[in-house]
Symmetry: none
DNA sequence: CATGAATGAGGTTTCATTCAT
DNA sequence: TATGAATGAAACCTCATTCAT
């Protein structure tokens, strides 16, 4: 990655034709593959292009630079996971904590583990200069949304709801990250879901004041 | 970083003269500084050497390659934190959970925040190919030690102590990492300690069976 | 040349466009020129690239490393000389020694001296780690081919044909090498051809048993 | 080897004390060892010093630079071989060719093979910029001496004695070099001596005119 | 005299990016 | 639009040599 500076990181063009869309998808998939097979350090634009079956030039038609490529992959992943969890949250709002929390956790774990490789490999990307801000922004939004969500619990009120949301969010993602980066087994992952529930509920019930 | 492969990562020579020790310390400090000021991507051996006030050649007299440098910095940090927490653990073993857990959490938070910059910046390093294994090994040891530690609680027994230790460890480090990487305020950090205690105690008391 | 190890030494890509072929040729020629003007010790990839009028990056598109470059130049030279001598050998097989030997010697001398500079300069390269094996293999093949060749003489048989071929080959190349490395005059070179003939025929006739 | 330029290549000081002589000898031996074990490319002054059990600084007390070191090693080898052969030549001058030639060849082969490793490894050094001139000079002298020598044969006269000496010298060294560089077996070496004799005598008798 | 820490120029190699075809 | 050859800055690392101790 040559000079970071302040460069446009948005995708260069919106593919309108079917062929273009196929190319973008191929590049996306190739990026994950290379990340998986070679690691972030050895991910080069040429390697991605080769894996995608196109030339470098073509890659640069869709992404102005390498950062934008990683940025794009990251974004797409977070949008997918975010959308799924938001949907679940909307469905269980305004119910007791014991209903809300397990549902959200199940949703997050399901989504993250449905494409384990993608999730795992993107933790590495999330430390990239470019992706960092993106992740920060997403987390900030997530915490705000969680705070709203927790506030709807029919059986609990929280004094410092920002902090509570923050802890809830981090307590969820900490173990998940460790598990995915470490290459957890599927058995362990199912156990993880229950323990995460226990962890979060234990915390929230401690912090909650009856409504 | 050229080709990772299987290279010696140990420090190249043990400094014997006083001058040498000063040089090694300067390099160490410079590494943290550069990491802080420029980020991992822009950390180059030349920049580190310059900041340390020595030549590249000198740097390479003590570290066989860039990875070893990062490796060394990482190791020193983990050893410091680990030693402090172990000491605390030894001091509060064989007491009730409500005594043990807050003590350990306070110790970890104190240690991590006593040199916030170092802690923060090393999260980035921990993803480096070379450091990865080092971190994995340390975490594995830590979990084992924690399992032992939890087993000494005078008022609790755990069915799946490995998993419990794992969750405890991750629940501690997840929020800490987010807080340090995000640049938390000192006020928030003190609040964090209490919430971590709440998080972990909530979980452990849920999982514990009376003894 | 960093670490020899076991690296791919083959040319990296086969040039497909006309422009590419011109580039490869330029690099080849530049290598000889630099070898001639600066010597092997001062042959650097940058110098070769500059002399070829391309950038280093371009050089590395065609040769994966410096060794491969020298390797390539060596190979091309040996193939040219080898092909010429083989052709001559095929033409004079199954005739008396007095016909066969002078023909082969004339062919070798002609070929080596047709591009004196190239020949001369490549003796230095032949000691390079990478080229060494190449040369060994070529010599081994050459000796085997010579043994076959000598066996077809209509007026002679040899008891230890391998040793005889070995001596013939070395007796030819020893003086040639000294002459070329020392920068022999053209007059001396023509004289050399006759003396080489005398040297080899003298030896072979001594070793030969009538058929 | 940094900048060749025109530097003094002579040994820096003549060791007068016994301890000094031992140091010089150790350095000499270490140079051969490193050459043998690592090759010319990986011969560094530090490695030589380490192997010799002294510090680099000490090495530089005796040799002004790396070239001088190689130069010195080369020279000592050539002087040893040269002295032995000269002695033999002096002993068999003024006798028939059939007496003179086998004696000289036996002497040369014996000397070169008495320390095969040293001989072998120094062929690589002989191509070094610095050593090159040294070798040239020695060869020139050798050829002149051989011409004188051949002129004393009681049963032969040569028309072009310079050329004859040149061929004789090269015919001897060509096969020897190939054999030593290739790592010949001792059985092959004894066979080599006879064939060299045959090669040289065959040539000389062809070129000789009766006296 | 000996030591070995320090120097820094210079070598090899990679890779994001451009642009003529 | 697609291609892939070309670019060249910049990274890592080595090693001959010096000099304070």
């Amino acid at each position: 990655m040559a000079r970071p500076a302040a460069i446009a990181l948005k995708a260069r063009k919106q593919p309108r034709q079917a062929r273009s869309q196929a190319t973008v998808d191929a590049i996306f998939e190739a990026t994950i593959q290379v990340l998986l097979g070679e690691g972030l350090q050895r991910l080069t634009t040429i390697r991605v292009a080769e894996r995608a079956g196109v030339s470098v030039g073509t890659l640069y038609q869709y992404y102005p630079n390498k950062q934008a490529l990683l940025f794009g992959v990251m974004q797409r992943h977070m949008e997918r996971v975010g959308a799924a969890v938001e949907k679940t949250m909307a469905a269980v709002e305004h119910t007791p904590l014991a209903t809300m929390i397990p549902a959200v956790i199940a949703s997050l774990v399901r989504e993250k583990t449905s494409s384990i490789d993608e999730s795992r490999v993107l933790y590495a990307v999330s430390n990239e200069l470019g992706a960092r801000d993106l992740v920060r922004a997403a987390e900030k939004y997530a915490r705000a949304r969680i705070a709203e969500f927790l506030a709807t619990a029919t059986d609990a009120r929280f004094d410092d709801i920002e902090m509570t949301a923050y802890m809830f969010f981090s307590a969820l993602n900490g173990p998940l990250r460790v598990a995915l980066e470490g290459g957890a087994s599927s058995k362990m992952l199912s156990s993880l879901r229950d323990h995460l529930t226990s962890l979060c509920l234990g915390y929230l019930e401690r912090e909650a004041r009856p409504r």
